[in-house]
Symmetry: C2
């Protein structure tokens, strides 16, 4: 019964990463003290420093993981939707909900606040987040179903517009801590507005 797959080397590796993620995403790089991380991880400082040579390496390891974890799903629901407008509504709702989620916002805040100190961080967040979302959306606009229902000649440009329309005021307010996480109806209304404007320009006239 030694089938533990986490037997990398040292049993507390996961705890360290989890605790560091918690504290870093809450306090930022400068604001997070190594003592606080070790305390939150339930691990001694000595153990922590046996895994990572310094605070910066730990920070990079944590944010690397979190960035690669952010998935722009919503494409799955789009495929088995009955019609294209419904699919667009689902995608818009997923994007807006995702933007307003506390987990994503915490990551975004840290990346933005630390972009000056760690330039690669901003780039990585952009690539694994917004850029990936744009690519997936453009891919959907190239699908036969979308091409049939929509008058899109440049899928990349259309995806850019759609994403703009999903960058709602809710997101800005959430980023700045002005409001709490919005409920489903609020998100649905914002998504509906986005889809309406999008279709006013890109719906195929028959």
């Amino acid at each position: 019964m030694n089938a533990d797959p986490q037997i990398k080397k040292g049993r507390k590796y996961g705890q360290v990463i989890a605790g560091a993620r918690e504290v870093f995403l809450r306090e930022g790089f400068e604001g997070a003290s190594v003592d606080a991380i070790a305390r939150d991880a339930g691990v001694s400082k000595a153990t922590l420093y046996s895994y990572f040579p310094d605070k910066e390496s730990l920070f990079h390891a944590v944010l690397n993981g979190v960035c690669n974890l952010q998935r722009t799903e919503g494409l799955g629901v789009a495929l088995n939707a009955t019609d294209v407008p419904s699919a667009l509504r689902h995608i818009a709702r997923a994007m807006i909900t995702n933007q307003c989620s506390e987990s994503n916002l915490a990551l975004f805040r840290v990346c933005v606040g630390e972009t000056q100190r760690f330039p690669e961080l901003g780039r990585q967040f952009y690539e694994t987040g917004p850029a990936e979302g744009l690519r997936q959306l453009a891919g959907y606009f190239r699908s036969p179903a979308a091409q049939e229902a929509l008058d899109i000649v440049d899928p990349d440009a259309a995806a850019d517009i759609f994403v703009r329309l999903c960058r709602t005021n809710l997101m800005i307010q959430r980023v700045l801590g002005v409001i709490d996480e919005p409920d489903e109806e609020t998100v649905a209304a914002e998504a509906e507005a986005a889809v309406e404007i999008f279709l006013a320009r890109f719906a195929r006239r028959d």
Copy 2:
């Protein structure tokens, strides 16, 4: 010749604020050391602490000033524009340029990064920035010229859509440090796309 209007009390007040603004906007609250601020301001730490009781008070004074300084102009050019589409183009360009400017981005980054620690900060930035922009835009949509050219029944909702369309990918990339300040042609192209989509829905059909 004692007509100096800056004779508030102490001659170095302006220097302190200027230096603190410089360092705070570059390094954030935790990252900025009081010694660095005093050095950058060309002032001794004792002088600095004769004006402000502590680092936090100085931070609030500085960001209060910078937040209130951010003006959403663009309304002036809109009034003396020949036609409404041109006015919209001007507004869109001004908004996008403003979002991508280093001065505004530095403020935004600090407000976002420090929103958890100082909740009032995010709210103040939102009110003096995005919210004010929305109000001004909605006001323009209520003007006779705009009402005549555009099919807008809810000026607030229309302003919200217009602002969304101006929240371009350029801004996201700028916030995350992925690209440098864009040139005028790039901004103009993004503004043009925004206005086109907006008019596709709100242009009055005759």
